[in-house]
């Protein structure tokens, strides 16, 4: 059992070990949907939601099922995540069609987002209990959202500036991400 305080878990997951900028998890949405602040924010919120659900189910799996068969961990995590996303998708479609339309393709894509599986595995490796896992998930989700929104606002500004032809597109995004990541390194001494 890990005995880190909840605050340090939360803060570490959100800024010091930011999932996207320090651990390179969830890069696909980071590159793909960070062109507009609005979509980035929505993607971030969807991610927080799925991360929290994953953390809860990973805890249940770890406590009640995987004790006897640890080698099934990767397979069972991915199945649970895939079906979870499917259920969430159906529920949202039924309860709020407007939200469903707004989230669009991003919702099913969350299944193959490494941040989700990464969270479940980190949580297991660090032996977090239920509350710690939940805090970790919320912190990581807020961190992802923060990175996405920062990136999107920088990209919206850059769009109107005169960038050399060869640097347009992914190359530029990666270099901006590198700069952001350097800025986040400044938080490293905090904890």
């Amino acid at each position: 059992m890990s005995n880190q305080s909840l605050f340090s878990i939360f803060f570490s997951a959100m800024v010091v070990n930011n999932f996207t900028l320090a651990l390179f998890l969830g890069l696909c949405p980071f590159m793909g949907v960070s062109a507009r602040v609005e979509t980035a924010l929505r993607m971030g919120l969807a991610n927080i939601f799925v991360l929290v659900l994953t953390s809860i189910s990973a805890w249940f799996l770890n406590t009640y099922i995987l004790e006897t068969a640890p080698y099934l961990r990767i397979i069972s995590f991915i199945i649970v995540i895939a079906s979870l996303v499917q259920i969430v998708e159906m529920a949202i479609k039924r309860l709020s069609p407007t939200l469903f339309r707004q989230l669009g393709i991003y919702l099913p894509l969350i299944t193959t987002n490494c941040a989700i599986l990464g969270l479940a595995i980190f949580q297991t490796n660090r032996a977090y209990d239920f509350m710690q896992g939940l805090t970790f998930a919320i912190g990581a989700g807020l961190g992802l959202t923060l990175a996405l929104v920062l990136m999107a606002s920088i990209r919206e500004t850059v769009e109107f500036s005169d960038v050399p032809g060869i640097a347009r597109g992914t190359g530029l995004v990666l270099i901006i991400a590198g700069t952001l990541s350097m800025a986040f390194m400044g938080f490293a001494g905090l904890l």
Binding site: Y71, I74, I75, I79, N125, G171
Partner: protein
Amino acid sequence: MRHTTPSEDFIRGIWKENPVLVQMLGLCPALAVTNSVANALAMSAATFFVICCSSVLISTCKRFIPHEVRISAYILVIATFVTLADMLLQAYAPAQHKELGAFIALIVVNCMILGRQEAFSSKNTVFRSLLDAMGTGVGFTIALVMMGGFREIFGTGSFLGHSLFGPNFEPWVVMVLPAGGFLTLGFILLAMGYIEKRKKMKAETKAEKVAEVTS
């Protein structure tokens, strides 16, 4: 789908459709584990094993997999081989396994592998799927080792643990930190964009000359 020869299946993944550098797939492992060449090699070997095995198995079983649940079936097959790779690495290269940590398990969600299954293995013969998987695997390895090489040489002044520049070299610490991963890939992409542009300009001037001569 256009017909391709077996050698094209293999070569395509290496440069023209390089999974990391051109298609931007599998970026998470490409950035996360390339702070040294040894880590990059271990990660590429594991990914190579997983993509080859799952391509062969999926192209063998493609007739028995119902269309509606194919993605889940692919993910299950991939997850099984990732578990195998995880155990093999733990048994034969425990140091590397410890260093890579959770990223071995994260091969499951490497979109490159799922992408090849959906785009190629589910439609082609076993032999050609294997060639395609090997090409993609080699392309992934080239990209990872290239990035690992740059980051290790500049970040620590060594290559595979051998010191290169002598004791007076001041390492660029930022290259082995997370920021270095983004910057290295960014600069590689800029260089590739520059080469492509030069090629295109050359081709254009050539075409103009041909047009002048013929007119």
